[in-house]
């Protein structure tokens, strides 16, 4: 590695023939007392070594379930998987839990949002790291202890020798998250899933953690899946992005293409709803009316149609498939935006008008838009 920066590495995608991870038509369904909930619906994507894929979506979009489905850590009694997850060419969905458990650590690892619950509260952090090393790599007690200190050094924890002897509660949030990253990296995995790892952290600390993760990815040539709801994080730290809505990938593109010309109205609206540097203070934001749907009551047709300013009859009847344009930009929309030669996009002004209309007539405006679907996405959230 020549660069120590956390910048995405666009060249990394073509580094090997067999992709690190190949997810095809993966659906994950939970059996609940209230019926079936399809948390992931026909999700497909490919990840190569050294590449970072961002998964962005709001609460309930299925982004966390996606990470857990890939690892196979969801409770089997209530979970049904269909489709395929191939890791370095071998199928994971058909493996038993015991077989999968052998891969957790040396091949597949995950870092969670809350570092306090991810660590055992009553064990010293050095011991927790050593446990994993002895189990997975068969190290002796002494070797594991030394390796644990080295790992803490790797994640830039100051004074690692001393810090390996403390309990998790004695560390700050940022240091704790570094420890969970060290734990995930202990057995040198090829794939790391980072699920909202900076959400619980302060901005100055979050920047440090993301920077660290990017450098470690480069050093170890890992594949990285960065799950986040923060578009700023996704824009600056990933090579490609999957936008999820109601359990499905609605748009998939290289990070640059996605942010330059978002094609799904949801992506476009999401980008318009955050106050950017270029946005005039106090000027109305392009809010999306309504709220994300409940996964147990996903509307017929396109799930975004009840909130979409461009929805037409077809959107409320027929679910659009994720279609690739041949250049790697895929979108699941009957009437995509910003497509060269297609209907004019960049509906910034338009979106403002639509959202203010909805605000004036709450309830009525959107309720009428939802006719024909059984969802309860009332107006004016």
């Amino acid at each position: 590695m020549t660069s120590t920066s956390a910048s995405p590495s666009p060249s990394a995608s073509a580094s090997s023939d067999v992709p690190l991870l190949e997810v095809t038509d993966l659906s994950t369904t939970f059996t609940t007392p209230r019926g079936l909930i399809r948390a992931n619906d026909s999700v497909s994507f490919t990840l190569h070594r050294g590449q970072t894929i961002g998964v962005v979506g709001e609460t309930g979009s299925g982004k966390t379930v996606l990470g857990r489905s890939i690892l196979g850590v969801l409770p089997r009694r209530y979970t049904t998987y269909t489709g395929s997850v191939r890791f370095q060419g071998t199928e994971l969905t058909t493996r038993s839990r015991a077989e999968l458990a052998k891969l957790w650590g040396p091949e597949l690892a995950m870092v969670m949002q809350n570092p306090m619950t991810a660590l055992a509260p009553a064990r010293r952090i050095g011991q927790q790291l050593a446990d994993g090393l002895r189990h997975h790599l068969g190290m002796s007690r002494g070797e594991a202890k030394a390796e644990a200190v080295r790992l803490l050094h790797d994640v830039r924890i100051p004074d690692p020798e001393q810090r390996s002897k403390v309990f998790p509660h004695q560390l700050s949030g940022g240091l704790r998250q570094r420890v969970t990253i060290a734990l995930a990296l202990a057995a040198n995995p090829s794939l790391l899933i980072a699920d909202e790892i900076t959400t619980a952290l302060d901005v100055t600390v979050a920047a440090q953690i993301l920077d660290l993760l990017g450098r470690i990815r480069d050093e170890r040539e890992m594949g990285l899946i960065l799950v986040s709801h923060d578009l700023g994080v996704i824009a600056t730290r990933t090579d490609a992005v999957k936008v999820m809505y109601a359990g499905r990938i609605v748009e998939s593109a290289s990070t640059r293409a996605l942010f330059a010309s978002p094609r799904h109205p949801y992506t476009e609206a999401l980008l318009g709803s955050i106050p950017r540097h270029s946005h005039t203070p106090h000027a109305p934001l392009n809010a999306i009316p309504g709220a994300p749907p409940n996964l147990g009551r996903i509307p017929v047709g396109c799930a975004f149609a009840p909130r979409c300013p461009h929805a037409q009859e077809r959107c409320r009847a027929e679910q659009p498939d994720l279609a690739d344009d041949g250049a790697g930009h895929a979108v699941a929309c009957h009437f995509p935006r910003n497509v060269p030669g297609g209907p004019a996009g960049a509906g910034t002004g338009e979106a403002i008008r639509v959202s203010s209309e909805v605000r004036e007539g709450p309830g009525t405006a959107v309720v009428s838009a939802t006719t024909g679907s059984s969802t309860a996405t009332e107006g004016g959230t």
């Binding site: 120590t4 824009a235 730290r237 946005h279 106090h282 999306i288 709220a291 309830g363 009525t364």
Partner: protein
């Protein structure tokens, strides 16, 4: 430092702006007793809020911004401070008189679902202030007023009035909390991380709503958030806090575009713009917030500040005015020049460290 600072602050704020002062906070300190000792969450801060403006209060967790916001509406009443609100010192008021004043100021909290009683009907929640204050004793009039309020926050009373709070989404609950806060026609509302728990798409709705209502009801807002881009969007003036003290306060554009305090600059630099064509910057500061139980001596930021010198270790920097904008105050011994970027302390030694690390990881 503080008495002097506060006088100048008031003077500067009053001189430039035509509007009158609505809230005048003088020497506010709040201390909590915690197992590890006495935690001073807010240390002797002074500032003013003008009628009709939005003051944005920004900082990381544990900087005292929520404590300060709550102290302003006397939740609880601070022990030693003067908080002059509409000409009355509410920090030194009897309980009964304070209770009367409470109708003039309201607070909206971060988690809307826990701020509402999930088992109650929305119309009852919004009508509660009228029941307590025995305004609108006529049932029909009260209902009319509740419907007005629900309409004002974008909820159709026909659809939502009879629903229970637990049936509503987070954004809808926040709208109800706002309607309830507006019920007694307050002049001042504290929004304590009011949109932080909401999804991005819903957050924009609530921000737009707050702007709209502020205009309509001539409100003054104290908008507290950890999110600097939201703060910039909502505020007329910005106040940056770190470990219980004010680092920088001033007009929005002065603070955001030409930050003078290294911490403000670091906060802005750490915020990723959703633009993939920009290279992610190396975080300009390292480390975490120190403990507020035992805050660093001198300038509280000196442990993380790349510009810190001996004087920063020993002397508390006073909040001093800067000439670039009226009412721009900075507490720093080594302030940045306008447009100057904060440079990491280890930037020169970086190449060496990188190769050493590469060797270590093998």
């Amino acid at each position: 430092m503080n008495e002097h600072g506060s006088e100048e602050l008031n003077h500067a704020a009053g001189a430039d702006r035509t509007g009158e002062t609505l809230v005048d906070v003088r020497n506010l300190s709040v201390t909590y007793q915690v197992p590890a000792g006495r935690l001073q969450a807010v240390s002797d801060i002074s500032f003013t809020i003008e009628k009709g403006e939005t003051l944005g209060l920004v900082g990381e967790s544990g900087c005292g911004k929520s404590t300060a916001g709550r102290a302003l509406v006397c939740l609880p009443q601070p022990e030693r401070a003067n908080i002059i609100f509409e000409g009355v010192d509410i920090a030194n008021l009897s309980k009964a008189k304070l209770r009367r004043m409470r109708t003039r100021m309201q607070i909206i909290f971060q988690d809307p679902t826990s701020a509402l009683n999930g088992g109650r009907k929305i119309s009852d929640i919004v009508a509660e202030p009228f029941v307590i204050w025995k305004t609108y004793p006529n049932r029909a009039e009260r209902k009319k007023r509740v419907d007005e309020l629900l309409n004002a926050v974008g909820l159709d009373p026909e659809v939502f009035g009879d629903r229970h709070a637990h049936e509503l989404s987070g954004g809808q609950c926040q709208r109800v909390a706002i309607a309830r806060a507006l019920a007694l026609e307050p002049s001042f509302i504290v929004c304590d991380e009011a949109v932080s728990a909401l999804d991005v798409s819903v957050q924009a709705q609530i921000l737009n709503l707050l702007e709209e209502l502020k205009e309509k009801y001539r409100l003054t807002l104290l908008f507290i958030s950890h999110d600097l881009s939201v703060i910039r969007h909502m505020s007329d003036r910005i106040c940056v806090m770190y470990l219980g003290v004010i680092c920088e306060i001033g007009p929005r554009d002065a603070v955001y575009d030409t930050p003078r305090h290294p911490y403000t600059s670091a906060l802005i630099a750490s915020l990723p713009e959703p633009d993939p064509t920009q290279e992610p910057q190396r975080p300009p500061i390292e480390g975490d917030l120190p403990s507020a139980v035992n805050p660093p001596s001198g300038c509280r930021f000196h442990t993380r500040c790349p510009r810190a010198t001996d004087v920063c270790h020993n002397v508390v920097p006073p909040l001093t005015p800067f000439a670039d904008a009226e009412g721009h105050f900075v507490a720093c011994h080594h302030p940045l020049e306008p447009g100057e970027k904060l440079v990491r302390a280890d930037d020169t030694a970086r190449a060496g460290t990188a190769s050493a690390l590469a060797q270590a990881t093998g």
